[in-house]
């Protein structure tokens, strides 16, 4: 794949991250972070990492964005300042960049490019891919442990405050 696609996607990623860092409104920051997660997921997906692209979008663009928004609403640390022109222009730029990168990769694809995603090649680490279900199970256990910790932290029972 041409390096122009990588350049466009990385430019979109950097624009969204910089907007997230330097924005004064927390809601804009969370929205920009959502866009950055989406762009990074698209990068993984385009460059033959469909599984991690999917997991990345599900985790960061989905669950973490919702958690961040919930915490922002619970703590009330922001004023919702949606609808200004700067934000709209920025979103439009990011969207145009992502669409341009996706279109370029779609139209420049030749039939000789294999359509499969990740193929287990004869590699010294390919045994890890063979044990993929167990690896995924361990990752789910890690997530479950984190969620139990969150539930315990936010539980009202036994709180002394």
């Amino acid at each position: 794949m041409a390096a122009e696609v990588a350049l466009l996607l990385c430019a979109a990623l950097l624009v969204t991250v910089i907007a997230a860092i330097f924005s004064k409104s927390m809601s804009v920051t969370v929205i920009m972070l959502f866009y950055a997660s989406l762009v990074l997921g698209i990068v993984f997906t385009i460059y033959q990492g469909v599984v991690i692209g999917l997991v990345h979008i599900t985790t960061f663009a989905g669950a973490m964005s919702v958690m961040l928004l919930t915490v922002v609403l619970m703590t009330g640390e922001t004023k919702l300042e949606l609808g200004n022109r700067t934000l709209a222009a920025l979103l439009a730029t990011v969207t145009v960049l992502v669409v341009a990168a996706s279109s370029y990769s779609l139209f420049s694809a030749t039939p000789s490019i294999p359509q499969t995603t990740v193929q287990p090649a004869p590699d010294i680490f390919s045994f890890i891919w063979m044990f993929r279900p167990w690896d995924l199970l361990i990752l789910i256990i890690v997530f479950a442990a984190a969620m139990i910790a969150v539930a315990n932290l936010l539980s009202q029972k036994g709180a002394h405050a």
Binding site: L7, C10, L14, F44, M67, V71, S126, V150
Partner: protein
């Protein structure tokens, strides 16, 4: 000649440094968690780009998957702690929290 790997590695470096900069200079714990997420993005991209030059990128994919899960878990616990800190102190400014503790 610019390759995909070069572009991704450069972007990953910029992301990590942007996240660290924001983490050190932010005066809001929520912004700190967001900066941590940006650092995780950079780390994921660096790990992913390291596998692009190989014949198969299975190891890189596995490491990115692990990094995503660990980053997400740490962020979830951090957000829960932030809610507790806000309940206890009424602010998310780390300097004010330090002053209130003494």
């Amino acid at each position: 000649m610019i390759t995909d790997q070069t572009v991704f590695a450069t972007t990953a470096t910029i992301l990590v440094f942007l996240g660290l900069f924001s983490m050190f200079y932010s005066r809001n714990l929520l912004k700190t968690i967001i900066s941590f997420q940006i650092v995780v993005f950079g780390a994921n991209l660096a790990l992913f780009s390291s596998g692009l030059s190989q014949a198969s990128n299975l190891m890189a994919n596995t490491l990115v998957l692990l990094s995503i899960v660990v980053g997400g878990s740490v962020e979830a616990v951090g957000l829960a702690l932030i809610v507790l800190v806000h309940r206890a102190y009424g602010t998310l400014d780390p300097w004010k929290i330090r002053r209130l503790k003494h």
